[in-house]
């Protein structure tokens, strides 16, 4: 068992065309891709967002195994969704025991949808430094007014994203410490193993609260007051490639809409 591999939300620094995109374009583009995935009418049309997502992954120059590590972190969620579909959807030809062809189709449909959504979110988070991604979200939200609120939302996002890898590492550390004291999380029934995990979960919660408090003091020490800064070090600059990226996302959404409603 390893929590340190939980990479979702962790920025990976390499030079790539995707990394250099404007965070606003990436945020809007990711939103459009996720909406497209959610609107896909049948299995066949997954090919459109899949092609776009796989191309973006290739262009991001972060190895596919790194993205897979992120997906692996959601294995429980994916397996749960798959089982629910297999059990609840009946119809078509019976393949094995309670598994029907319709259930299998629905299971593949849902799992693919989740995997594509996770991958799209990963492309955004792994290629955009948290502060810049928060800036992107903040800029998009500020289009609707309320500059201070959008800044606060951006900051909350930044901190939340920052906390994911920190807590994953902390969980890993606590887990190893408990194993060193003789705890065994590998043997026994699932329920027993889950109960034993309490010795990791409770210290983790305490640690999370302590870290949150420390971070608050650290931010105050760095003069954070909640007011958006007047001058930003990194200016967001929209370029042609951002427009092209967004155009691809819009084309994808339009294609899916056409496939779904026409």
């Amino acid at each position: 068992m390893k929590f340190g591999s939980f990479l979702v939300g962790r920025y990976v620094h390499v030079e790539s065309p995707i990394h250099s995109l404007d965070p606003r374009a990436k945020f809007l583009g990711t939103l459009l891709v996720i909406i497209s995935v959610l609107l896909v009418p049948n299995l066949f049309f997954y090919i459109l967002p899949a092609i776009l997502i796989l191309s973006l992954i290739r262009m991001s120059r972060i190895g596919f195994p790194v993205y897979l590590t992120g997906i692996r972190s959601f294995w429980f969620f994916l397996v749960f969704a798959a089982v629910v579909q297999l059990v609840s959807v009946r119809g078509g030809v019976r393949i094995f025991s309670f598994i029907t062809s319709e259930g299998l189709l629905s299971c593949t449909f849902v799992v693919l949808r989740l995997v594509l959504i996770i991958l799209a979110a990963e492309i955004f988070s792994m290629t955009t430094p948290p502060l810049l991604s928060a800036r992107g979200v903040e800029s998009v939200l500020s289009l609707f007014g309320m500059r201070k609120l959008s800044y606060e939302i951006g900051m909350i996002m930044t901190i939340a994203m920052r906390f994911v890898p920190i807590l994953a590492m902390e969980a890993d550390r606590i887990l190893k410490a408990q194993i060193a004291r003789g705890a065994d999380f590998e043997k026994g029934k699932l329920m027993d193993r889950l109960k034993r995990l309490l010795v990791v979960v409770i210290p983790l919660l305490v640690s999370a609260m302590r870290k949150a408090e420390e971070l608050t003091v650290a931010m105050e020490a760095r003069l954070y007051t909640g007011e958006p800064p007047k001058i930003r070090y990194r200016q967001l600059a929209w370029s042609t490639k951002d427009t092209i990226f967004l155009a691809f996302s819009v084309i994808l959404l339009c294609s899916i809409l056409v496939a779904r409603y026409l």
Partner: protein
């Protein structure tokens, strides 16, 4: 410029951490805060930096200062440097407080480069601070405070994770900053490189029980603070020469 703590007390969970502390911190001087663990060093530094609100008064040049203005005046380096990492890259982390200060972009860039050079983190601007070693994190923490150029610095165990050459470098840097007129308060157990220290403040159970020069501190001797051998030798030499002078005076009189 002068920061004065007047009858400062602080209670945490019913326990008195600081009791009626009076202290004066002046620009251009280095103060060393020593004492055993739990004696109130970190609390005192945090009050000085406006991060804790205490009973009593904290004055700047004689006028009572609020926590926000103290935070602007005093740069605080945390005991655990990982606690103060905010940015996802070294650059973002250092720039954070400059953006809060509303400094011009060109000035930000200049200060960023200077801070990175001073702490020896040049070329690591895009690194994730979480991937840095303990020593590098400590350097980053110092850079993030130095970049603001505050008139006072409060450093809580600033070299505890550094190797020997890096410790010397950081103390050298702190002495340079002292020469530039900064008031520096260091809570530390590393007493090896203390040549430029102007005053030692010893805390015992939340109370200041000693204030004075490093030689007087060595002469008094506190069981909870280990004095390096070199300083003990220096102190002995001083005592011997003082005694010899006194003997010579006595002989002259005779």
């Amino acid at each position: 410029m002068k920061i004065t703590l007047e009858s400062v007390s602080f209670t945490y969970n019913g326990r008195s951490v600081l009791k009626d502390v009076n202290l004066e911190i002046e620009s251009g001087k280095v103060y060393l805060l020593v004492g055993k663990n739990g004696s109130g060093k970190t609390t005192l530094l945090k009050i000085l930096a406006g991060l804790l609100v205490s009973r009593g008064k904290v004055c700047v040049n004689g006028e009572v200062a609020d926590p926000i203005s103290l935070r602007r005046l005093v740069g605080y380096v945390f005991q655990n440097p990982a606690s103060q990492i905010i940015g996802a890259t070294v650059e973002e982390d250092i720039i954070f407080s400059l953006e809060m200060l509303g400094i011009e972009r060109e000035e930000m860039e200049k200060r960023l480069k200077d801070a990175l050079r001073v702490v020896g983190l040049e070329g690591m601007e895009k690194e994730d601070p979480l991937n840095l070693s303990g020593g590098q994190k400590q350097r980053l923490a110092i850079a993030s405070v130095l970049v603001r150029d505050p008139p006072f610095l409060a450093l809580d165990e600033p070299v505890s994770m550094l190797d020997l050459p890096s410790q010397i470098e950081i103390f050298k840097l702190l002495l340079e900053l002292k020469e530039k007129g900064k008031g520096i308060v260091i809570a530390t157990h590393e007493l090896e490189y203390l040549e430029g220290v102007d005053e030692v403040v010893h805390l015992n159970d939340g109370m200041i029980d000693f204030r004075g020069s490093i030689m007087d501190f060595v002469a008094v001797g506190f069981p909870d603070v280990e004095i390096p051998f070199s300083w003990r030798i220096l102190e002995k030499c001083r005592t011997c020469s003082k005694r010899r002078m006194e003997d010579a005076h006595t002989l002259d009189k005779r």
